[in-house]
């Protein structure tokens, strides 16, 4: 395990295993995951704009969890370049106050038998404005493709806004592609249930919001990283 600081290009050699934890982000980061390599990548993002480009080789697997807090646009591009490449790219975003952010993701299935999955969850309070732009592209002639994208966002205040612009472009027929997006509020029945148990409304809301976002963060295997991300997410929600 290594900690990255402001590096711009990374190559993970064939059949290597690597775990990256990124706390301070360079403006641009490019990762080349060679054939058979397995990468787990955890990022803390916020404040400034950032662009991430990942190329995933044959039978390689790349797994990303990003925690985005505050301002700054995040752009991610995933090129599933080798047959059998696998990409998971999950994001949690939390905005409050006057924060604005555009989170853009592009997944390109450029080889046969590639699999992608993405779960994006957001909570926006204050006068925050979040936009999620999620693209999946399956070019002509590609076979046995499986692409999935889910986006779920909670509006935590009257003046918050969330915009979702999914974009599924499919030029091949041997595909399975599922997509979902939802914007709404906390489940009122769950809130009520908690309150009947004596939990006050503020706590109940916080608890449910945390639970909502933890569906993504729970996927972080490394315990200390998971604890750190969950703590930061909690702090973000309390702002």
């Amino acid at each position: 395990m290594e900690t990255l600081v402001k590096r711009e290009r990374l190559t993970v050699a064939e059949n290597e295993n690597a775990v990256f934890i990124e706390r301070e982000l360079a403006d641009r980061l490019e990762i080349d995951v060679k054939a058979g390599a397995r990468v787990k990548h955890y990022r803390l993002h916020g404040g400034a704009d950032n662009a991430l480009t990942v190329r995933i080789g044959e039978n390689a697997a790349y797994e990303l969890v990003t925690l985005h807090l505050g301002n700054g646009d995040l752009s991610m591009s995933f090129d599933l370049a080798g047959e059998g490449a696998n990409c998971r790219s999950d994001v949690v975003y939390i905005l409050s106050g006057d924060e604005k952010s555009v989170i853009a993701s592009d997944v390109r299935h450029n080889a046969d038998k590639t699999v992608s999955a993405q779960l994006v969850k957001g909570a926006v309070g204050g006068r925050g404005h979040a936009a999620f732009q999620g693209g999946i592209l399956i070019p002509y002639d590609k076979k046995e493709i499986d692409g999935a994208q889910q986006h779920r966002a909670l509006l935590l205040s009257r003046d918050a806004t969330v915009e979702a612009v999914p974009r599924l472009e499919i030029y091949a027929d041997d595909v399975k592609c599922a997509h979902g997006s939802a914007i709404g509020t906390l489940n009122q029945d769950q809130l009520y249930y908690m309150r009947t148990r004596g939990i006050d409304e503020t706590d109940a809301r916080a608890l449910l919001t945390t639970a909502f976002l933890n569906e993504v963060l729970d996927g972080i295997e490394d315990e200390s990283v998971r604890a750190e991300f969950e703590r930061l997410a909690d702090e973000g929600l309390k702002k």
């Binding site: 002639d141 999914p166 974009r167 027929d173 599922a178 997509h179 914007i183």
Partner: protein, 477 residues
């Protein structure tokens, strides 16, 4: 449509059953577009000054606009000066319908004589630029229902037309709507008075016949408080090598507790196997649910046209108003469709449902494009969208672009989409039971579309199911 008529239609041609041309004299304005042409159209229709002003204002605005190119469709530039903007079938007496025209509509299965009309369907037929017959008018008039061509409505109910024309789709709305506002020739006008439930389905049949003519019809439906109407629209055009433009506007206003159902079976000529010819279908359809508890439901089956650009929309202004959009869009060969809906939630407790089924075959491109917007005051508003795409063959495309925007924390927006192909297992299963490959595909596709098909009125559903099979002909090897 009766079974006899269906089979009569099938005899007409191999694939596109409506590809015949009617040999009839047409009175046309000179080709091209300028203020004189607009004055000519307006004078032909004996229009009041205010309407001519409306047209000219729209035309002058149109000159400042550029054609939109954001849709996922490709087509060569349109020469707007190479189109006839007015073509009327020439008849000796205005009240008599030319027998040739009658034959045409019979071939199409549109009965004009009341005795031939299936129970419960009143028909307005628009041939090129002119509305030629409106059946059942007197019976409807007894209940205060106005069902006429829009040209007649301009003469007989100018106040109503003036009040609502452009109120839902302003002439500044978009390039094609603006063009339509300048040159619209005919279309249907419907007014349902307070408390009246329209006793029959109202129907319009559109047909483009004249060469190089565009069709620019304009339809207005106003459903006053506590009224109900179900409206059906069907479209066909002859087979031609060149592309023809169809740029229509539909405006619907729904008042308190009123409900409008609008169903379309669009079967404009799609072009041939190599993508030659076909209709450019650039249409703006929008309804305003102005009243509380109002409801507007769009159902469309889109099988025709070379290029489709169409987003029937609902503006849900009244509290508790409901918007629905059920769509089947099938493309084959070189067809391109970019279609979907907009649901704009403004009022409290408004709700909308979107069900879209896209089927792409051949070398076609099929795009669902949608917008769901929850305004600041849309308390407890609800939307659910389901968009499914089915791909047949490896050379077509299916695209889903569902945009959503929410600015109200009590509102909920939910979208689900899937893309898949007909599985080899499904095909094998059907063929093992004795269906051939084409029959199997048509059966599976009709099953895929069932949620939408069953929203259609009975007589349209039969035609639509058959159109699915016709459109997919040649899509499997």
């Amino acid at each position: 449509m009766t079974q006899d008529k269906v089979s009569a239609l099938e005899a007409v041609s191999d694939t596109y059953h409506y590809g015949f041309e009617t040999d009839i004299d047409a009175e046309t304005a000179p080709k091209g577009l300028n203020e004189d042409i607009i004055r000519y159209i307006s004078a032909k229709k004996n229009e009041p000054e205010w309407l001519l002003d409306f047209r000219l204002k729209a035309y002058r605005h149109w000159l400042t606009m550029t054609e939109p190119r954001w849709a996922k469709v490709e087509y060569p530039p349109i020469d707007y000066q190479d189109i006839y903007y007015y073509a009327a079938p020439k008849t000796d007496k205005k009240t008599e319908i030319d027998p040739e025209l009658m034959k045409t509509y019979e071939k199409l299965g549109v009965p004009l004589h009341e005795r031939e009309v299936l129970a419960g369907v009143a028909v307005d037929a628009v041939f090129d630029s002119v509305s030629v017959a409106t059946t059942f008018r007197d019976r409807l008039a007894k209940q205060g229902i106005i069902f006429s061509s829009i040209s007649e409505a301009v003469q007989n109910h100018p106040d109503l037309v003036k009040k609502y024309l452009g109120s839902v789709v302003p002439y500044t709305d978009n390039f094609f709507a603006c063009l339509n506002s300048a040159v619209f020739t005919d279309g249907t006008f419907v007014y349902i008075p307070k408390g009246v439930r329209c006793p029959m389905e109202l129907s319009t049949y559109f047909r483009i016949n004249a060469k190089k003519s565009g069709q620019f019809e304009r339809t207005m439906i106003i459903a006053d408080d506590n009224s109900y109407v179900s409206y059906l629209e069907g479209c066909t055009a002859p087979q031609r090598d060149e592309n023809q433009l169809h740029a229509a506007i539909v405006e619907i206003i729904v008042m308190n507790d009123a409900e409008v159902k609008y169903s379309t079976v669009q079967n404009w000529y799609p072009g041939d196997k190599d993508g030659k010819g076909g209709i450019y279908n650039f249409v703006t359809k929008r309804g305003l649910c102005r009243g509380v508890n109002s409801k507007l439901s769009w159902t469309q089956v889109e099988t025709g046209s070379a290029v489709t650009w169409k987003y029937p929309s609902c503006v849900l202004m009244g509290d508790n108003s409901v918007g629905e959009f059920y769509s089947v869009a099938i493309t084959n060969n070189y067809q391109q469709a970019d279609t979907g809906t907009k649901m704009i939630h403004l009022g409290k407790n408004t709700s909308s449902t979107i069900v879209s089924k896209g089927i792409s075959a051949g070398k076609s491109q099929n795009t669902y494009r949608g917008l769901v917007k929850m305004g600041k005051n849309a308390e407890n508003a609800r939307n659910f969208s389901q968009c499914d795409s089915l791909l047949i063959g490896s050379q077509c495309g299916a695209h889903t672009l569902p945009c959503m925007l929410s600015s109200n924390p009590t509102a909920s927006v939910e979208h689900e989409a899937t893309t898949s192909k007909i599985s080899d297992e499904q095909l094998f299963y059907c063929r093992q039971r004795g269906l051939n490959a084409e029959e199997s595909v048509s059966l599976i596709v009709n099953g895929f579309c069932k949620d939408v098909m069953q929203k259609l009125p009975m007589e349209f559903a039969v035609e639509a199911t058959r159109l699915v099979a016709v459109t997919l002909e040649g899509s499997v090897g």
